[in-house]
């Protein structure tokens, strides 16, 4: 029996908890991408850099608060700074929309023109973030690091395997659940949310029924900027902030959004978890896990690893290709990407 518990704890510690956290981070990022796609009908490549920009503001404000002696006790101070950071990101996104995307909207340009324009915006944000905070690593986590450490868990339970839960991991999951709930309430229950869904489903019909397109676009940018800032800050708290990784994380975020079906918020969340868990579980070595479960004589000699970690990134792209081949609109999608 103890072996069974050990096996469960082991999987929880190395697979479930990291996968959940990473999945939530990807899901929040993918939600922002998918909202912009649903309303503005293009893939916003600048989303990763929007995350970086929002996080930059959050870090700067955190430093300011820390120097003023403000803290949240066991929680990271950065959570307090989110409203300011979100506001800054919204100003940036709306400003960009006014200066760049509105021009192409008035010309009714192809989605691919928007996509390339967003690539240019990405490079601009890229430089902006490095200009403000520099290309280096920044650690801005404070408060308690762990809810429970592996060693404490072992002492309490007497098991061989430890279970560590970081404060930031717990915050990430709790925040993601709250935000997703709030977003769905907004989309399904409020007038603005309904008008957004209507606009996303059928633009012409929505316009005919008197929905103001400028307002819908503005709300989409506000939501996308807020989601990007929250996702970026949570990610930066959990790992660390380095502008370059926010460019790198764009790929798994897009993979998540596409796997789930671009334009579908529910799909973005599911896609985030599919990508995160497949990356971790396919390259996981199940040797110890099996050793706990099977009789001693059956214990595996090798590592029982399906794929070496070198192929980690291949995994999410194989899933992406499979989904596009079998169900081109994504697992939950209505619109073709």
């Amino acid at each position: 029996m103890e072996n069974l518990f050990n096996a469960i704890v082991l999987i929880a510690n190395y697979l479930v908890i990291p996968g959940m956290t990473y999945g939530c981070q990807l899901a929040l990022g993918a939600l922002g991408v998918t909202l912009v796609f649903g309303i503005l009908r293009f893939s916003n490549f600048a989303h990763g850099e929007t995350m970086a920009f929002g996080t930059t503001i959050a870090i700067l404000t955190t430093w300011w608060l820390q120097s003023a002696g403000v803290s949240l006790g066991p929680l990271p101070t950065a959570l307090l700074t989110l409203p300011i950071a979100i506001l800054a990101a919204i100003v940036l996104c709306l400003g960009t929309d006014k200066l760049v995307y509105r021009f192409y909207r008035s010309k009714k340009s192809d989605p691919v023109i928007f996509l390339i324009a967003s690539l240019g915006v990405m490079f601009f944000y890229n430089g902006l973030v490095r200009f403000i905070i520099g290309p280096k690593d920044q650690v801005f986590t404070d408060g308690d690091r762990f809810l429970i450490t592996a060693r404490e868990f072992k002492q309490i339970t007497g098991l061989n395997e430890g279970l560590a839960i970081k404060t930031t991991q717990a915050i990430t999951v709790v925040a993601a659940v709250m935000i997703v709930a709030a977003l769905f309430w907004f989309l399904n229950k409020t007038r603005s949310g309904k008008s957004m869904r209507a606009y996303s489903d059928n633009e012409d019909l929505a316009l005919l029924s008197g929905i103001n397109p400028d307002r819908v676009v503005m709300i989409a940018w506000i939501l996308s900027a807020a989601l990007a800032t929250i996702a970026g800050t949570l990610y930066g708290l959990d790992k660390s902030f380095k502008p370059f990784t926010y460019l790198q994380i764009l790929l798994p975020i897009f993979a998540s959004a596409i796997v789930g079906g671009l334009g579908n918020p529910l799909g973005a969340i599911a896609g985030g978890f599919v990508v995160a868990f497949s990356e971790v579980s396919v390259t996981f070595a199940y040797k110890k896990f099996l050793t706990y479960l099977v009789p001693e004589s059956w214990a595996p000699e090798g590592l029982v690893q399906l794929l070496s970690t070198d192929y980690k990134f291949a995994v999410s792209f194989v899933i992406l290709v499979l989904v596009l081949l079998i169900k081109p609109t994504g697992l939950f999608g209505r619109q073709s990407s």
Partner: protein
């Protein structure tokens, strides 16, 4: 009387060494190309040794030494070979201080130096492949092979009583080469490597890597990566999940920013970084400043490379490569009087009296194996959030 004079003349002729000449030494470095910022100081280091020997007037009965530079380009093997060919056949250099990068060094050695029987002493080629290359005893280097660090790390692991270790490396030539060297050395010490897994730099999440490493298990985790890249991410992840508590850090991971970023969790981890506490290093630094150049990377090795060639000439009593190649290891290694930078005149005097020297030089030279520097490493320990020196190896 006439016969006596003639006989005297003949003996002087035969005893060639005693006759002063103008010895030419080739300096083949990448004066253009990827490491062009380093090579001026490297050449200056080598030429400092030549000047010291010339000024002493003690080499082969008062011979002077002249430097002839050639451009290896670091990457273009054809250009490097042409430069070496010119130096050997037209300038008639006695030996070559160079080349710098491993690729062009191999090309010059195999296609030019061996064909002409000319000695090469490289200050900076570190590829493990050069250790067992066919060289007719003509090739030496004052830089350690990358393979050496694996050996040093293996010794440290053994001394710390490590029984098994997991290994992760950054997915590039540096990481792969180092990981291979660490793996083979550690295993030959009877320590098992439970897994050897690559990690990509600059990625967002390392839970998959940490998961695999943790399942394979081990007393310590060896991280052959970069301190501001994936190496840091893997350590952070391993500490967070409680997978490993002690980390072994090769040179790419050593820097003050790592303990600051990771925090207390890194205390007790240890590693290696090239370095020597030999008084020669400090002495060379002073000499370089006085001579008006910077003791930059590999310039001390260049000084030592040129000095070794010239000392071997004196020991052989000839500036001919065929004779001096057998004396390089003799002057570099014990027994004998220890020689530091700036003491080349003293060394030449000892050698001409038939004595023996142990050239220590600026980098504590000790030639091992097929004539390459044993390599000196600083063993470090992370203690109280700071990198501290345990000892030098």
């Amino acid at each position: 009387m006439k016969k006596l004079l003639l006989a005297l003349a003949a003996t002087t002729m035969l005893a060639g060494p005693a006759m002063a000449e103008n010895v030419k030494l080739g300096v083949i470095l990448g004066f253009t190309g990827p490491i062009e910022s380093l090579t001026p100081d490297m050449a200056a280091g080598a030429e400092l040794a030549m000047k010291e020997v010339s000024d002493s007037g003690a080499l082969l009965g008062g011979s002077t030494v002249e430097s002839v530079r050639g451009d290896s380009t670091c990457v273009d093997a054809a250009a490097a070979q042409a430069a070496a060919e010119r130096l050997i056949t037209s300038d008639k250099v006695s030996a070559i201080m160079g080349a710098d990068c491993s690729g062009v060094t191999t090309a010059i050695l195999q296609n030019v130096a061996m064909a002409n029987g000319v000695v090469m002493v490289s200050p900076s080629a570190t590829s493990p492949a050069l250790s067992d290359i066919e060289d007719n005893g003509l090739f030496f280097r004052t830089a350690p092979s990358d393979a050496r660090q694996g050996q040093v790390l293996a010794e440290i692991l053994k001394e710390n009583g490590v029984k098994s270790a997991a290994l992760t490396y950054t997915n590039n030539d540096y990481g792969k080469g180092l990981a291979e060297s660490i793996k083979s050395n550690v295993e030959s010490m009877g320590i098992s490597i439970t897994i050897s897994a690559a990690h990509e730099d600059g990625k967002g999440d390392y839970s998959a890597e940490v998961g695999a490493l943790a399942q394979a298990g081990g007393d310590v985790l060896i991280v052959a990566g970069y301190l501001d890249q994936g190496g840091k991410g893997v350590i952070q992840g391993a500490l967070d999940s409680g997978a490993f508590e002690t980390f072994v850090l090769p040179d790419g991971m050593i820097g003050d920013s790592l303990p600051i970023a990771i925090g207390d969790g890194l205390n007790g981890s240890y590693g290696t970084v090239p370095g020597t506490d030999s008084p020669g290093a400090a002495k060379f630094g002073e000499m370089a400043t006085a001579a008006g150049f910077k003791a930059g990377p590999f310039s001390a090795e260049s000084y030592d490379a040129a000095a070794l060639i010239l000392l071997a000439m004196e020991a052989a009593g000839s500036s001919d490569s065929g004779a001096l190649k057998d004396k390089v290891e003799m002057v570099a290694n014990a027994p004998g009087e220890k020689i530091y930078p700036g003491e080349l005149a003293k060394a030449l005097a000892i050698l001409s009296d038939g004595g023996d020297i142990d050239y220590v030089g600026a980098t504590a030279v000790e030639l091992i194996g097929a004539g390459e520097s044993a390599g000196n490493y600083r063993q470090i320990l992370v203690d109280g959030g700071k990198i501290t020196t345990t000892k030098y190896r």
